[in-house]
């Protein structure tokens, strides 16, 4: 896998050069995204729970929404070619 043209700037991102993307790279990045999504939206849900006095209503909703959005992000970053 050579580097030439593997990554590119935002302007030239649609010329299908992500084919050569490192698989391990994408795998670990995906895990970071999913953990990040759960943390951000789960955390937001937890805050809303505390604010509204629920014990655990928005936290699970937030975690699920977070994972869903993270998967969108994985697709955007690594799924489109």
């Amino acid at each position: 896998m050579s580097k030439s043209g593997r990554r590119s700037g935002p302007e030239s991102s649609h010329n299908g050069d992500s084919q050569g993307n490192n698989l391990a790279d994408a795998t670990w990045a995906s895990i970071s995204y999913i953990l990040g999504g759960m943390a951000v939206y789960g955390g937001l849900g937890w805050l809303i729970d505390r604010w509204t006095g629920h014990s655990a209503l928005f936290l699970p909703i937030g975690v699920i929404v977070g994972v869903a959005l993270a998967l969108v992000l994985v697709y955007v970053r690594h799924g489109r070619s």
Binding site: K3, S18, S32
Partner: protein, 268 residues
């Protein structure tokens, strides 16, 4: 050290009132070798210093008087260096990455030797199973890729490229940008450190558990069979750990290279 105490106690399965002395977190805690004020110098620190010396002395003797036709230790040193350059740096960053190969070589060999300490007789403790060691290495990696990102893409450009992947409807950025930020700035270093720490922690725990069990199960009758089984598991686990130690050193270096690469140029 606590495992030594457990092994020294002559407590076996068939003795009355003798429970299994299962190893716990105490096997990761050491009495200080010496103390300077509130600072305790412990065995993991000593092993880390020894690992550092091993890496320095090895590469010093390999490259202090380089010959055009490498011989002896220089051959081995070049093999190690070229492995990191060709298999990790060139694969992930490309030619531009040659600049960072010394950093990657240091991380790879330092982490590897600290991991291998797990199965060296008398050392027998993976230094990286104390999270402070992976955490401080990852701290350096974190500062490096943040610095490179800001240097190569500009302060605004770096965060813009990180948080706003191009070609999406505007409203969705509000939802996705926080995930990008958290996963790049917080989750990445966290997982990098925890992956190394947890693997070495678990491996050491397995080896100690089966070693203690081999001693605990020992007896003159059927106990000998139990004990032998447990001992064979120890041998297999040590071989397995030998592989995991190299693999974890490889993975932390590979991901460091990958993070550096994503800082040098904007993600697509």
């Amino acid at each position: 050290m606590a495992a030594d105490v457990q092994l020294a106690s002559s407590c076996h399965l068939f003795d009355a009132g003798c429970g299994f002395p299962s190893p716990g977190l105490n096997i990761y805690e050491f009495k200080p070798i010496f103390s300077i004020g509130a600072f305790d110098f412990t065995k993991p620190m000593l092993l880390a210093l020894i690992s550092m010396l091993i890496v320095i002395v090895f590469f010093w003797s390999a490259f202090s008087r380089p010959k055009l036709v490498p011989r002896g230790v220089q051959n081995v040193g070049e093999l190690g260096y070229l492995f990191v350059r060709d298999q990790i740096s060139r694969e992930t960053i490309g030619k531009k990455g040659d600049h960072f190969v010394p950093f990657l070589v240091s991380i790879f060999f330092f982490v590897w030797i600290m991991n291998v300490m797990s199965i060296i007789p008398f050392a027998q403790f993976p230094v990286t199973s104390r999270i402070a060691f992976p955490a401080s290495i990852v701290g350096m990696v974190w500062l490096t890729y943040l610095y490179l990102g800001i240097k190569h893409q500009g302060l605004v450009g770096y965060f813009k490229n990180m948080m706003f992947p191009p070609g999406l409807p505007k409203w969705i950025y509000v939802l996705l940008a926080p995930i990008e930020f958290v996963s790049n700035i917080i989750v990445r270093p966290f997982t990098l450190a925890v992956r190394l720490f947890a693997n070495m922690f678990a491996g050491h725990m397995l080896i100690v558990t089966f070693s203690v069990a081999a001693w605990y199960l020992l007896g003159f009758h059927i106990g000998a069979l139990y004990s032998a089984t447990s001992f064979i598991v120890v041998v297999i686990m040590v071989a397995f750990e030998l592989m995991i130690q190299a693999l974890q050193a490889y993975i932390i270096t590979l991901l460091t290279a990958s993070y550096i690469s994503s800082s040098l140029e904007a993600e697509h």
